[in-house]
Amino acid sequence: MEALAITLFIFVLAMFVGFEVITKVPPTLHTPLTSGANAVSGITIVGAILSAGLQLTTLTTVLGFLAVVFATINVVGGFLVTHRMLRMFRRK
């Protein structure tokens, strides 16, 4: 199959998985869900690493570096703050 068709397939399937799984998250955990989802959205770090690492031109390297910084803040901050919140949820 063509590349775009495949990517679309994956997008649609992932959206279904997302909707099914996330509608099961209870309201209690909606704040950690937001910050956790936030952390996951830092996955663009993958693209940032590629740009920073390839060092094709000075400009792309600088852009890549900045992207790595921003994405890392997002990832590290997001998972850590979510962890802080979740650890507080205790049973009786």
């Binding site: 990517t7 994956i10 997008f11 992932a14 998985v17 997302g18 799984v21 996330i22 099961k24 998250v25 209870p26 309201p27 209690t28 955990l29 909606h30 704040t31 950690p32 937001t34 910050s35 956790g36 952390a39 996951v40 959205s41 830092g42 996955i43 663009t44 993958v46 693209g47 940032a48 690493i49 740009s51 920073a52 690492g53 094709l56 031109t57 792309t60 852009l63 890549g64 570096f65 900045l66 992207a67 790595v68 910084v69 921003f70 994405a71 803040i73 997002n74 990832v75 590290v76 901050g77 998972f79 850590l80 703050v81 979510t82 962890h83 802080r84 919140m85 507080m88 949820f89 009786k92």
Partner: protein
């Protein structure tokens, strides 16, 4: 071989991200789920470094440097933030994610050109998408952050022609994007698009009231997911698409839940400018019918109670009263009183806001009940203590079809035998309307800052015993 490993890594990371969201379905499994998510991220990073190695990359120092800088900032932010400031924190992090998408897509375009490739239409369309969505996410999130931190006023900033301007900016960016798709070698166009989207991000969020920021944040959260998806289309990377879709779905679902709970369509939130005019307390509603009481009187009422439901709202977050509330609950429980907490889906300023604060104060989540679970029990409740909540307990939602909160389901505290409301004044909540509950037959008002009020109550109750 190396490529197979990389692909396997990406697949594993995708599965770990799915398991992250699956595990968030219960507080018991949520901590582990979040750890799984961070492991997934680690796997993704390692796989990418492996991929780079194949291409003989040299920029490991740049990467590690960037990760070190970002990591330190991230840790500091995460450890320093007060639990009550979570909405701001999410806004800020979200903005950074959007910025990263913009930079990645721009760099990928430049790289493709530098390598003498003619980017495909899929590539440029996705680049433009990531650029616009990411930029709006970044600037929109910054404005939301500034409003929540009260760096700029929370009041909606409206000027005439605003919607026309925003529509023009969006249309302009898309047209420029079309131009870039046709002539991909004109990379400067990308930065013009980013500039236009910058203005759009700011002017789109400024006219939205401070209390509506949570909706904006979750919406932008879903945008940052879609931006990651777009980046995935740019880089032809399935893991990015999976992760981005999950985040996108989560943002969309949360936005829907909030809008439904406020009984306002999303368009009204984004373009309605709600919160612009504050209706001052209506004398007809309150005149002479508000019963203000002292801590001692409340202590006496509590003495006779066998079942108490505590309903917190935004004011508890402002006053940081959650620990005091916990102490009050324990005191009552020590006397054999049954104590539960009733949480409205949009109490506070973000979904689940109150739950996090109560969890911070070590209140077991079994005692924290959702609206549908607690509402039938108010009729059997002796005392409902409303602390810093207003709109979510306003009976006008049921009775006045012209009210801005008409039709929003509320917590039926007025069905309890006695209602005690703790707030600083009769001033309205986010919706800017008076609340007849405060003048009801069975309501007692205790005017004070939330935290101090609860501490005084504890003292009074101890003395009374």
């Amino acid at each position: 071989m190396r490529l197979a490993l990389v692909n396997l890594g990406y697949l594993a990371a995708s599965v770990l991200f799915i398991l992250t969201f699956k595990g968030l379905s219960h507080p018991r499994t949520a901590v582990r789920a979040n750890l799984l998510g961070s492991v997934g991220m680690l796997v993704a990073v390692v796989a990418t470094l492996l991929l780079l190695g194949r291409d003989g990359a040299t920029g490991y120092a740049v990467i590690l440097g960037g990760m070190a800088v970002g990591g330190i900032i991230g840790v500091l932010l995460a450890l320093r933030i007060r639990m009550t400031a979570m909405p701001q924190m999410v806004a800020l992090l979200n903005g950074f994610g959007g910025a990263a998408s913009v930079l990645v897509a721009g760099a990928a375009l430049l790289e493709a050109l530098a390598m003498g490739q003619v980017p495909s239409a899929q590539f440029t369309v996705a680049t433009v998408g990531a650029g616009i969505i990411g930029t709006v996410t970044f600037w929109g999130s910054l404005v939301a952050f500034a409003k929540l931190e009260e760096i700029i006023g929370g009041r909606p900033l409206m000027f005439s022609g605003q919607r026309a301007l925003n529509a023009a900016l969006l249309l302009g960016s898309v047209l420029l994007g079309g131009w870039l798709v046709v002539t991909p070698e004109a990379a400067w166009l990308y930065w013009v698009i980013v500039a236009a989207a910058t203005v759009l991000g700011v002017t789109a969020v400024l006219p939205i009231g401070g209390a509506d920021m949570p909706v904006v944040i979750t919406l932008l959260n879903s945008y940052s997911g879609l931006a990651a998806c777009a980046t995935g289309f740019v880089l032809d990377n399935n893991m990015l698409i999976v992760a981005g879709s999950l985040v996108g779905a989560s943002g969309i679902i949360l936005t829907q839940i909030m809008c439904r709970a406020m009984n306002r369509p999303i368009a009204n939130v984004l373009f309605g400018g709600v919160g612009a005019e504050v209706v001052t307390a209506d004398d007809d509603v309150y005149a002479g019918r508000v019963k203000s009481v002292s801590a001692d009187e409340i202590a006496m009422v509590l003495e006779a109670a066998r079942r108490v439901v505590i309903v917190p709202g935004y004011g508890m977050a402002v006053a940081q009263a959650q620990h005091a509330v916990r102490d009050l609950a324990r005191l009552l429980e020590g006397r054999g009183v049954e104590v539960e907490f009733g949480i409205h889906p949009v109490a506070g300023r973000m979904p689940g806001h109150m739950n996090v604060l109560l969890a911070e104060a070590d209140i077991p989540y079994e005692k924290v009940k959702e609206m549908d679970a607690i509402n039938p029990s108010f009729a059997q409740t002796d005392v409902a203590i409303v602390i810093g909540a207003n709109d979510v307990v306003n009976p006008l939602a049921r009775t006045d079809p012209t009210s801005p909160i008409a039709g929003m389901p509320i917590l039926d505290v007025d069905k309890a035998r006695t209602v005690i409301v703790i707030k600083r004044s009769l001033s309205p909540g986010f919706a800017g309307i008076p609340n007849p509950l405060f003048a009801a037959e069975n309501t007692l008002m205790y005017f004070a800052d939330g935290k101090q009020a609860v501490l005084d109550l504890i003292d009074a109750a101890k003395q009374a015993a």
